[in-house]
């Protein structure tokens, strides 16, 4: 809400300057967002919160400011002689819920011209474009009283006034020079033939006040807040009028505004008020007093405000206050403060006037509470973050909506959840996999690549399941590298994670997937908890990332379930290790995992570890064969192993491997 400081001053004596007033308004909850000099005047813009529609008028502001600076508002209504009931036009209200009350005043024989300079100045400073003496009068009175008005060229209206819902496909060319096609969602003002205005939002061009207008029909009405809101959203236009109607208006000011506007038109454009006609009922303001317990007030605020002070503070906000008993005040809020409805609203009024800064500071005590499951999960995520940082990964938080291209990678299209009102029409899916939202980050960094990409994210995926939307937290890990062998860097991180968090090695088994050229399922304690893989070249080809990508995705809840937390000490063997190497050549149709399984199935119990120390492939070995040098570490928990004992077992194992037609000893 923008207004002229001098204009406000006409209605409330001010001993403070504009800067001081702006400051005090801010502290009272009416934030001054700008203050600009305009000649010998100042233009102040304040932010009015949705609960204070009364402040969208000079009248309301004058009362508020009077309360702040301990002064009194001098705003008064301009009274006109009650016009005679006219029979020239009748008002028909289709639905009293949409429009409870409508009153038209006729001013005839006007001479449309520029409004007086002073009126033009006042409205211009509030951000209205001066148009002519009739329109400016309506805006001036809306500014002063907060009630929107509209002036029609009476002679362009055919027959009676109808306030009704638009019929499907009806049209209106509006004052903003835009044609609109209407539907029953729109409440309109119509005459016998056509729609002449979008009720409470914007007028029609055909009935606008022009230099040729002789007779004016001045409208003041009440419209349903919800209908105006829905209508202006549909029409895609917000006006000073719709803004006020949506937030609510003060019924009593309807007549004040309309009468004063009629008087202004008469004064500035000549003509005479020839009659008025109304339909519906102007609701009565029935406001009983609200009781306020000073003891409860202080218990709510943690303050020590006495009854007298509370009373004075409320009187500063134009409340009518009576002392009921030692502790209780009976408070009747002023008619324009519809936001004060219950005792707690009075607490706010008192606190606001008393000054929030004058309420003391205290630290409450909540006693001891057991750690909840949610807290454990939150702490677990941070443990994971710290671990992955230690593995030299960087956490990322990408934008999580998917465009068509990313969503196309989801195999189960029916799982995709779509946003009904997306910001950009192509970004309209929620991610079903974390990695689907990581491409943009990978692409961005690939452009400026200074280091390998090692990223992780802990985030939510959403997918459709049995008609409703499921949400799950996952850990995503994204690596890049020049060759496919970089996959093992990612696998190492996953292996370390499993061993550190779950106290045992994960099992990996191959899992085919279109998105990945090769992928492994990760199992821990017999539960599949995720996968890792090499992103397929066909996926890469559209990405503009000149590297191989390797992704892993793990279900957080399952990982947390397998998480052991702090583990106890496990005794380790201090007997010497005996190390033996085996060189083998294996047909490439056989996986290394199967060879390893074979070894661990037939080795003595004291085979502690099998590692690959070298792999090779080449002419010498022959096609479709891979060579490995394995290092077997033998160590007993009970005794020192003799080399004879180990050699016997080791040779038995060699012989066993040699039986396999896919394996050759070298």
């Amino acid at each position: 809400m923008k207004f002229s400081f001098n204009f406000l001053k006409e209605f409330v004596p001010l001993s403070v300057g504009p800067q001081e007033l702006a400051q005090q308004l801010t502290v009272a909850g009416i934030e001054a967002v700008s203050l600009q000099r305009a000649g010998d005047d100042w233009i102040l813009e304040v932010e009015i919160t949705a609960n204070r529609p009364d402040l969208l008028s000079i009248a309301g502001l004058s009362y508020e400011v009077a309360g702040i600076v301990r002064s009194a508002s001098r705003i008064t209504r301009v009274k006109i002689k009650e016009p005679a009931q006219t029979k020239a036009v009748a008002i028909h209200l289709e639905d009293r819920k949409d429009c409870p009350y409508y009153r038209a005043v006729l001013v005839e024989g006007v001479n449309v011209a520029d409004a007086p300079a002073r009126m033009r100045e006042v409205i211009a400073k509030s951000g209205f474009l001066p148009i002519n003496n009739v329109v400016d009068s309506t805006n001036y009175c809306m500014l002063k009283w907060g009630h929107p008005l509209h002036a029609f060229d009476r002679d362009k209206i055919k027959g009676d006034i109808f306030v009704r819902r638009a019929r499907e496909g009806e049209k209106l060319f509006c004052l903003d020079n835009k044609g609109r096609i209407l539907s029953p969602q729109n409440l309109v003002i119509a005459d016998q033939e056509k729609v002449i205005a979008l009720a409470g939002i914007i007028g029609g061009k055909e009935t606008e006040i022009t230099l040729a207008t002789r007779n004016v029909l001045l409208e003041a009405a009440l419209f349903s807040k919800g209908v105006i809101r829905a209508g202006r959203r549909k029409a895609g236009v917000s006006t000073e009028s719709s803004y006020r109607f949506e937030r609510d208006v003060v019924e009593r000011y309807l007549g004040y505004a309309q009468d004063e506007a009629a008087a202004c038109i008469q004064e500035s454009a000549g003509g005479i008020i020839t009659g008025s006609v109304a339909a519906g009922v102007l609701p009565e303001e029935k406001r009983g007093p609200i009781s306020l317990s000073v003891e409860k007030l202080n218990a709510y605020l943690g303050s020590g405000i006495d009854r007298r002070t509370a009373q004075q503070l409320l009187e500063h906000t134009q409340c009518d206050v009576a002392v009921h008993d030692k502790d209780t005040l009976m408070v009747t809020p002023p008619f324009f403060r519809k936001d004060i409805r219950r005792e707690v609203d009075l607490y706010e009024e008192v606190a606001r006037r008393y000054g929030y800064d004058n309420i003391p500071l205290e630290i409450p005590s909540f006693g001891l509470a057991a750690e909840t499951e949610a807290e454990r999960t939150y702490a677990f995520k941070n443990t994971l973050r710290v671990f992955l940082r230690g593995e030299r990964l960087r956490e990322i938080i990408p934008y999580s909506f998917l465009d068509e291209r990313a969503a196309a990678h989801e195999k189960n299209k029916e799982q995709l959840v779509e946003i009904a009102n997306p910001l950009k029409s192509n970004e309209r899916f929620l991610r079903t996999h974390l990695y689907l939202s990581a491409f943009e980050v990978l692409r961005h960094n690939a452009r400026n690549l200074r280091e390998e990409m090692r990223f992780f994210e802990i985030g939510e995926v959403m997918y459709r399941e049995r008609g409703s939307c499921r949400e799950k937290t996952r850990l995503g890990i994204y690596f890049s590298g020049k060759g496919k062998e970089h996959f093992f860097l990612l696998k190492k991180v996953v292996e370390n994670l499993m061993e550190v968090f779950c106290g045992e090695k994960a099992c990996f088994s191959e899992q085919p997937d279109n998105f990945f050229s090769q992928a492994l399922r990760i199992e821990i304690k017999d539960t599949a908890i995720g996968f890792l893989g090499i992103v397929d070249d066909t996926v890469l080809s559209g990405l503009d990332i000149p590297q191989q990508l390797f992704f892993a995705e793990i279900e957080l809840d399952l990982l947390q379930r397998a998480y052991t937390g702090t583990r106890g000490y496990r005794a380790f063997s201090r007997f010497p290790e005996v190390v033996r190497d085996i060189s083998i050549a294996v047909k490439s149709t056989r996986t290394f995992a199967s060879v390893q399984q074979k070894i661990s199935g037939h080795a003595p119990a004291y085979l502690k570890e099998t590692t690959v120390v070298e792999t090779y492939q080449g002419e010498k070995l022959g096609k479709d064969v891979r060579g490995y040098t394995l290092r077997l570490i033998y160590q007993s928990d009970e005794k020192t192993l003799s080399s004879e004992e180990v050699d016997a077992a080791h040779n038995k194992l060699r012989a066993f491997l040699a039986e396999d037609t896919d394996i050759m000893l070298r």
Partner: protein, 345 residues
């Protein structure tokens, strides 16, 4: 005396390094170690020194002679210092191998959660998919009310449930409702998480961002507790000198409501470009939980009262770290991410 000796040694080392010919080196050797050298002078003056410092000076003198001799010999054999044959050039560094990093938003959330844990708030992360009922109605934001304008929301194309349309939460407050519905007072919760609003992305807007919501309910929780808790928070996050300003405001779900400003920690409140010359920075909204909201969640407002507050994590992180564009958080440029390493989490 020892200072002068150290200075001499430093200068002598530089001179030895600077020498390029054998001839010069010989000349320098006699200058540094010969009979007329500084060291010789000190040795000559030893007799006059008090007994207790004689030993110390003697030791230093010997050390200096050894060091210089070694340096000169090393220079002769072509090395810059006394270097072993199989030594590596330890002035080299490996490329890459940089430490990892935690996203600054995660770090800030952890930091703020830590502050409130000290006050015995319990952490809870709610769901991002919510329904109209929990995102609006339960929070005293009726349909077709202008206060909904501040909470523009992404709706999902999923069949409506008993709580109305499904949506992506536009604030963390729905979790407040869910927690109040299932817990009985006294309680104090802190809810960090992602929220979504259909705002076009620019330097200060993002359609996804993070909020932290906190609330507490008990028989005697009051506005001064809210002030105390937030003051504790502000001091821990912005520094001990920070001042707070509570401005009356309107939120549908609290009454009384306030917006909270901290004194600008850049200029100390004098006014600078960060605080737009106001001296204050708005950091959060708060208030006493509206009786309608308590009622909705099955808590009797006649018996219990509570406070609630909510803050934007990006805003606080931007202020704290001097970040001027919210998009940096979601772009995830390595050159941005590598700058942040919070030791504690």
């Amino acid at each position: 005396m020892t200072e002068a000796l150290k200075k001499f040694l430093r200068e002598a080392e530089q001179k030895i390094r600077a020498v390029v010919s054998e001839e010069e080196l010989e000349k320098l050797k006699s200058e540094l170690l010969g009979r007329k050298s500084f060291l010789a002078e000190i040795a000559a003056g030893m007799k006059s020194l008090p007994a207790e410092s004689r030993a110390e000076v003697g030791r230093l003198l010997n050390e200096a002679k050894h060091t210089l001799t070694a340096l000169i010999e090393g220079k002769k054999s072509g090395n810059t210092g006394a270097v072993k044959k199989d030594a590596v050039d330890i002035t080299l560094s490996l490329p890459g191998q940089l430490p990892g990093s935690i996203h600054p938003i995660s770090s800030m959330i952890a930091r703020i959660c830590g502050v409130f844990k000290e006050l015995r708030f319990s952490i809870y992360e709610g769901n991002e998919v919510e329904d109209e009922c929990h995102n609006f109605e339960a929070l005293n934001i009726p349909k077709d009310h202008p206060s909904r304008d501040d909470f523009d929301t992404f709706f999902l194309n999923v069949k409506e449930g008993s709580g109305g349309k499904f949506l992506l939460r536009s604030h963390t407050s729905p979790s407040q409702i869910r927690l109040m519905q299932k817990s009985s007072p006294p309680f104090a919760y802190l809810v960090p998480g992602k929220v979504y609003r259909p705002d076009a992305v620019d330097a200060s807007h993002s359609y996804v961002f993070h909020q932290i919501e906190g609330f507490a309910v008990d028989k005697t929780i009051n506005f001064s507790h809210l002030k105390g808790v937030l003051y504790h928070f502000a001091r821990k996050v912005f520094g001990d000198d920070v001042r707070l300003r509570f401005r009356p405001h309107f939120f549908p779900f609290t009454e009384p409501s306030a917006e909270v400003d901290v004194s600008c920690f850049i200029c100390g409140g004098k006014g600078c470009s960060v605080c737009s010359r106001k001296g204050w920075l708005e950091i959060l909204g708060c208030g006493m939980i509206h009786p309608n909201v308590l009622n909705y969640s099955g808590i009797d407002p006649g018996e219990f009262q509570g406070f609630a507050f909510g803050m934007g994590v990006e805003r606080i992180t931007m202020l704290k770290l001097g970040i001027d564009d919210i998009r940096l958080f979601f772009e995830n440029d390595i050159r941005f991410l590598r700058q942040f390493y919070e030791v504690q989490l």
